[in-house]
């Protein structure tokens, strides 16, 4: 049985449908990555999964007593709010000091507990966010473009940390990412989103799927794919008309696997 699953999930924001008829499921221990152009509904999907966005239609099923660790896309801390890393990790529930120190270690940082949140570097900040998500020993870790604003080595190191966390804690990981090359290397399953699920499957299957290529280009390695991705928006509609056959194809492969 899956940890969290959606059935015919449709999301609307301000009267606009951002996602329709989405069926996804994440099983224990697997790393699933969501890719898709800007505005394709990736963040909205994650917000619905954590309960911050009510479904306009469809359902979300969570395993009983499911613990979710959430790392938001960005966290702007107002300059008027003094907050130490320890204080941040104590929200909303106070944690024993040992737990805080140990969790920071798990997230790959040490000696930060007394620092001000606003004094952290980008990489440290992301790791503190990760530590906060790990505090409640989550069954599933949900990350929304967690490496935004990190440089290439920084984000590579961050993803290695995620894999390490998964190995140590055995939690599932559901993440949104723009780093396609990393996605392809680290994920068990990839979900390509553009207002609906275009295609899904193992990285290899998705990379070969016509929908994915229409969105991201034929190269799956880094720069080319990212470059193509920027130019793919105008093709969205033509792509939509042709997506059905390919979509079934991708699902078919998925089932065989």
């Amino acid at each position: 049985m899956s940890l969290i699953a959606t059935h015919n999930l449709t999301l609307r924001i301000g009267g606009q449908t951002v996602l329709r008829d989405v069926d996804i499921a994440v099983n224990a221990g697997e790393i699933v990555t969501i890719v898709g152009p800007n505005g394709s509904g990736k963040s909205s999907l994650l917000r619905a999964l954590i309960g911050a966005l009510k479904p306009a239609a469809g359902t979300i099923t969570r395993a009983p007593d499911l613990r979710i660790g959430y790392v938001p896309q960005k966290l702007q801390i107002d300059a008027t709010l003094p907050l130490t890393v320890r204080g941040f990790l104590n929200l909303p529930r106070r944690q024993p000091r040992d737990t805080v120190a140990q969790t920071l270690l798990q997230a790959g940082v040490t000696d930060l507990a007394k620092k001000q949140m606003t004094d952290l570097s980008g990489g440290q900040f992301q790791r503190v966010l990760l530590a906060r998500a790990l505090l409640n020993k989550p069954h599933i870790l949900i990350l929304d473009e967690a490496t935004q604003g990190l440089d290439q080595p920084g984000s590579a190191a961050f993803y290695r940390q995620i894999e390490e966390v998964r190995r140590d804690m055995g939690c599932a990981v559901l993440m949104v990412s723009h780093d396609l090359h990393v996605v392809m290397a680290a994920s068990d399953r990839v979900l390509c989103l553009n207002g609906h699920v275009c295609c899904e499957g193992t990285p290899e299957i998705v990379a070969d799927a016509p929908e994915y290529r229409a969105l991201f280009g034929t190269g799956t390695q880094g720069a080319l794919a990212l470059y193509r991705h920027e130019h793919s928006h105008s093709h969205d509609h033509t792509h939509d008309h042709t997506h059905d056959a390919g979509c079934n194809h991708a699902h078919g492969d998925q089932d065989v696997r």
């Binding site: 954590i50 959430y70 966290l75 003094p82 929200l91 529930r93």
Partner: protein
């Protein structure tokens, strides 16, 4: 002891400082300065209502401030021009309140008492109301402190850890309405927002945690209240504005020493 009007005034000032300062920190952190304005300016309408229906002023102000705070909360985030909308509400409420007070029949109302406060005329029962309100507001904040901070930091993050950001917003709204209702007698409708924001802003450079900032803001608020009271007595100036002037002065001093505190 409470028979001395100066002692009553001092205690009233301290009560308002305690109610306003920690709440003011949230107003500053959440960038809700205009929210405080709109709610406190609406207080005047509450005064008019109370006088018209012969209710206690405190009850009228509480009712109107709460309604205004709820309206603002409901509108917040629904449209893009929140800033403009709050400006309209704040000044509209003030103007309508002034008109409403002037329309009251057979009543010579000392308007400046409600606009700028009348701390020297605080009675024992006023004092009881002020301190009850202050304690209620503080109790609300202490009770919900961690959850309020979570919701202030990021609504999604709060939701993911089981905190309902809308409920926390409502708690703040309630605390704000209570604070406005108890502060109108002391600093007046025009200057309540100042007692929320200035002590919190002045406390910021001295704090490394939210709790220290709130406590420091309390101390600064109390100094402003007592200093303003003394200044008003010494120079025969209006008390409410004197209190806010001292608070503003403390803010300037605090901003001046802030660079020296940086490592």
């Amino acid at each position: 002891m409470l028979d001395d009007f100066l002692i009553r005034a001092g205690l009233a000032g301290i009560g308002v400082a305690f109610a306003a300062a920690p709440l003011g920190c949230f107003v500053v952190w959440r960038r809700m300065a205009y929210f405080g304005d709109a709610t406190s300016h609406a207080a005047l309408l509450g005064v008019a209502l109370a006088l018209a229906f012969e209710l206690p002023v405190f009850a009228g102000v509480l009712l109107v401030a709460l309604s205004m705070a709820l309206i603002v909360t409901a509108l917040n985030g629904r449209s893009l021009g929140t800033d403009t909308l709050l400006g309209v509400l704040a000044h509209g409420a003030l103007a309508i309140g002034l008109v409403a007070v002037s329309l009251l029949p057979n009543q010579r109302v000392d308007l400046s008492a409600y606009l700028f406060g009348e701390i020297l005329a605080v009675t024992k029962s006023d004092l009881a109301i002020i301190w009850s309100g202050a304690l209620l507001s503080i109790a609300l904040l202490v009770w919900r402190w961690q959850a309020l901070l979570s919701a202030t930091l990021n609504p999604d993050l709060a939701t993911a850890s089981g905190v309902n950001p809308r409920r926390e917003q409502l708690i703040l709204t309630l605390a704000l309405a209570v604070t406005v209702a108890v502060a109108i007698k002391v600093v007046g409708a025009l200057l309540i927002a100042a007692m929320l924001i200035i002590p919190a802003a002045a406390a910021r450079p001295f704090a490394r945690t939210p709790e220290v900032m709130a406590a420091t803001a309390c101390v600064i608020g109390v100094i402003a209240a007592l200093g303003g009271l003394a200044a008003s007595f010494a120079f025969d100036t209006p008390t409410g504005p004197s209190i806010v002037s001292v608070a503003a002065l403390l803010f300037v001093v605090s901003s001046g020493v802030a660079p020296l505190l940086k490592r």
